[in-house]
């Protein structure tokens, strides 16, 4: 319509003159053209004054022709567009043409968007402007809708967890959403222009090239699982990608669009699950215990190798069959009841515990077994895992052990009694030996006193022979017998004491070891002063033990230390102790003559006296000490260096139950 010219002048067509009929015909034509136009049509002067307009103007603006004739074109423009409109007016006048979109304000105040085009022209040598206006309401609404729709898709794209991207046919990114950037560790800006090969290794990009190629050729979209991509930080991720061909409006392929999802975690979880399953299987299959899974109906779902060995049924034979098969008949009902109870109440008496049960093997033999039961729930229901041990051997071993222990106890008792009885019974012949030796000696006295009377009857040779026998041989023999019997008696007494120490009742009580050692030292004070022996007693803790026993222990060790001091240097004996929890350790150190290495094992043996024997004793002291300490759950040992001194160390347990039990 901008081309429609010339446009006749004149506004008041009713006042046309007759003689102007010809021109009136032309006027009518232009009027018809103007009013036939669908949009607005103005002819305005260079000041914007209205010269001519079509009917639509009156319709749209609501002003009458008379009102319009007195108005300026800018009067129809909404206030916000006034400036734009004035500028456009100037543009038209200077450049000859301008167009703009403005809001037309109607008389009742309604605003309507119009697309206005102005064209400068000359009418009867006067510069004027022809303006045409098209209602832009519908187009504007359509634009708005498009904008909204685009916004919606953009929002979806940017907020969705899956990555979305578009690449051109060469594989360069033309568009990516935020999620894709996150997936790959790049910013959106970094990705645009990048090629997919840049975040894939060679194998993957070769594979992807083939896939893209296939899609290009067939036009069919594709879904690619587990595509390995390399993130910006170098870590690898697994993506699941759906790819479709992208075409332009003419249908020519211009690139690809794809949606990708990071499945790394899911794959890792699946892998972890698979590994866990694998691990369970491997553990279950190599376990020495039978591992059996049953479902809530009591049917076997898993049966490991050990179970095959224990029961004699193969996995194939057992899976799907009732566990009751491997139970002795008499336990089956209880088992079924237990299963029903668990099914209805969820409570079990045996789940989480270990119970002794009986198993029935395929060959029909019954055996004692130990069963630990656990339960677990899955979507498929409740399952039970039983760990079964054939304890036939264990039971046998336990019984055997018990029998050995009893035998040991009995033989131990027998040894104690033996020592005791023997030492008594040995005394019986000793009494006779001593008695009759004595009788013999007195009989010999009787003979001797009467011997002189018989002398004249014997010749010289016989006389001296008899005298020899009577006064030397027989008394000497009797002396040997008497001495031997005395020694044997003292041995027997020593054994008797040892046997008694092993049997006597201990009365544990708290003992102040400082006081006890002090009083032991005092009993030896005369000897200590005389020989200038120094005894240093450290701070000693209390112990709970049998007082008499501890007195004997300390007395023996200390008197040994004094006995075996080296006379070439002043004697020095140190008693120290250290309490450490369950037991107390005592140390008695002397600077005496020491014990030779080869004699060390004789120290605690009965009747053994090591080293130079210049002091009296039976060699039983330390044997007694050792027995008493053992009764108290303690130990004794010694360290020594010949010529330097000896240290005896003994422990005594803080509580004396052990000693009491050993009695």
């Amino acid at each position: 319509m901008a081309q429609s010219k010339p446009i006749a002048q004149g506004i008041d067509i009713t006042e046309c003159k007759q003689e102007e009929k010809a021109s009136s015909r032309g006027k009518n034509f232009s009027e018809a053209v103007m009013n036939g136009a669908t949009g607005l049509l103005f002819v305005i002067g260079d000041k914007g004054n209205t010269i001519q307009w079509n009917k639509n103007v009156e319709k749209v603006t609501g002003y009458s022709a008379k009102e319009i004739s007195k108005m300026n074109i800018l009067d129809f423009v909404a206030s916000e567009d006034q400036k734009t409109a004035a500028e456009a007016m100037q543009e038209v006048l200077t450049k000859g043409q301008a167009s703009l979109e403005i809001m037309i304000l109607s008389k009742p105040g309604k605003k309507t968007p119009f697309y206005i085009t102005g064209l400068r022209t000359k009418l009867e040598n006067t510069t004027c402007v022809v303006c045409t206006g098209i209602d832009a309401t519908e187009r504007k609404q359509a634009e708005e809708k498009l904008l909204q729709s685009e916004e919606r898709y953009r929002t979806i794209l940017e907020t969705m967890q899956d990555g979305y991207l578009e690449v051109d046919l060469a594989g360069n990114f033309t568009f990516v959403n935020a999620a894709e950037g996150v997936n790959l560790g790049y910013s959106k800006e970094e990705l645009i222009g990048m090629n997919y090969r840049q975040y894939q290794d060679e194998t993957t990009s070769k594979k992807m090239y083939q896939i893209y190629n296939g899609i290009y050729k067939t036009g069919e979209p594709a879904k690619v699982l587990d595509v390995q991509v390399i993130r910006k930080d170098g870590t690898k991720a697994l993506n699941e990608i759906s790819i479709a061909l992208m075409r332009d409006s003419e249908g020519n392929p211009i690139g690809f669009r794809s949606v990708s999802r990071d499945v790394t975690e899911r794959r890792q979880m699946e892998e972890a699950l698979r590994e866990s399953e694998e691990r369970f299987r491997s553990v279950a299959q190599t376990a020495a215990e039978g591992i059996i899974n049953i479902d809530s109906d009591g049917n076997v779902v898993f049966w490991n190798k050990a179970a095959e060995i224990i029961f004699g049924y193969s996995t194939d034979e057992m899976v799907g069959r009732s566990l009751a098969l491997v139970m002795p008949e008499r336990f089956r009902e209880a088992h079924q009841q237990g299963m029903r109870r668990v099914a209805s109440t969820g409570e079990s008496r045996v789940v989480g515990t270990t119970v002794d049960v009986a198993g029935l093997a395929k060959d029909g033999h019954e055996f004692p077994a130990e069963l630990s039961l656990a339960t677990w729930k899955t979507v498929e229901g409740v399952f039970f895992t039983g760990i079964v041990c054939d304890i036939t051997e264990r039971k046998r071993a336990a019984e055997l052990l018990q029998r050995y222990a009893a035998e040991l106890e009995r033989s131990n008792e027998e040894v104690k009694n033996f020592a005791y009885i023997v030492s008594h019974d040995l005394r019986v012949p000793l009494v006779n030996l001593k008695g009759y030796t004595s009788e013999l000696r007195s009989a010999l006295g009787v003979i001797g006193s009467n011997f002189d009377a018989a002398l004249p009857h014997l010749n010289d040779e016989k006389r001296s022979e008899v005298a020899m026998a009577l006064h030397e041989d027989v008394p000497e023999a009797l002396e040997f017998i008497t001495n031997s019997v005395s020694r044997m008696d003292s041995f027997i007494n020593a054994v008797l004491i040892l046997a008694r120490l092993g049997r006597q009742d201990l009365k544990p009580e708290p003992i102040d070891m400082n006081a006890l050692v002090q009083s032991t030292v005092e009993t030896m004070s005369h000897q200590l002063q005389e020989r200038g022996i120094e005894v240093i007693v450290g701070s000693l803790p209390h112990v709970v033990a049998d007082r008499i026993a501890v007195e004997q222990i300390m007395g023996n060790i200390l008197s040994n230390a004094v006995k075996y001091l080296d006379s070439s240097r002043p004697g020095r004996i140190e008693v120290t102790a250290q309490a450490n929890g369950a037991e107390t350790t005592f140390r008695i150190r002397d600077n005496g003559r020491g014990i030779a290495q080869e004699d060390m094992d004789k120290v605690f043996a009965p009747f053994r006296r090591a080293g130079k024997q210049d002091t009296p004793g039976e060699g039983m002291g330390l044997a007694y000490v050792q027995t008493l300490l053992r009764r108290h759950g303690g130990r004794i040992w010694c360290e020594s260096e010949l010529g330097k001194g000896t240290t005896f160390t003994f422990t005594i347990s803080t509580r004396s139950e052990k000693g009491a039990r050993d009695a």
Binding site: Y420, H424, R427, L430, K434, G435, Y436, T437, S438, R500
Partner: protein
């Protein structure tokens, strides 16, 4: 000491040597009573109850028993127990004369009702002394009537 000569001493001892030594020393201690001998516990009980080999025997109404503990067939404890449980023999004085000096056994014998417990010393002088003292004890002790009265 009018009662003493009537008392018969029953020496229960399985070792013949001991028997002889005890007898000798009792005699040396001037004990002139009749001494009967038994070599085990069963024999001693037979003698006391006039049973077995001593059936139809009639022994002295007053008795004193010297009893060893470790003996075959029936030991000293069993003899002591049976004697003290039986109305006929429970008043007979019993002297335990044995090699055992374990305090627990001494206590057990007194609990069973023995009157004197003497350990036989291995040393012969001590042995003689012990028997001599026993003899003196017997000389001064008053014996109860042994025939159940």
């Amino acid at each position: 000491m009018p009662d003493i000569p009537e008392v018969t001493i029953l020496l229960v001892e399985d070792d013949p040597g001991h028997t002889r030594l005890i007898e000798k020393n009792l005699r040396r201690a001037n004990i002139k009573n009749e001494i009967a001998f038994a070599t085990n516990g069963q024999e001693a009980l037979d003698y006391l109850f006039c049973e077995g080999g001593y059936a139809n025997n009639k022994h002295a109404s007053h008795m004193l028993v010297m009893l060893d503990l470790n003996m075959p067939v029936l030991d000293g404890y069993q003899v002591l127990e049976r004697m003290k449980k039986d109305e006929r023999t429970k008043r007979i004085p019993v002297v335990i004369l044995t090699t055992t000096d374990d305090p627990r056994e001494v206590r057990r014998c007194y609990e069973l009702g023995c009157n004197v417990y003497i350990t036989k010393p291995v040393d012969y002088e001590q042995f003689c002394e012990a028997i001599r003292k026993l003899g003196l004890f017997l000389l001064v002790a008053t014996m109860p009537n042994g025939d159940g009265g």
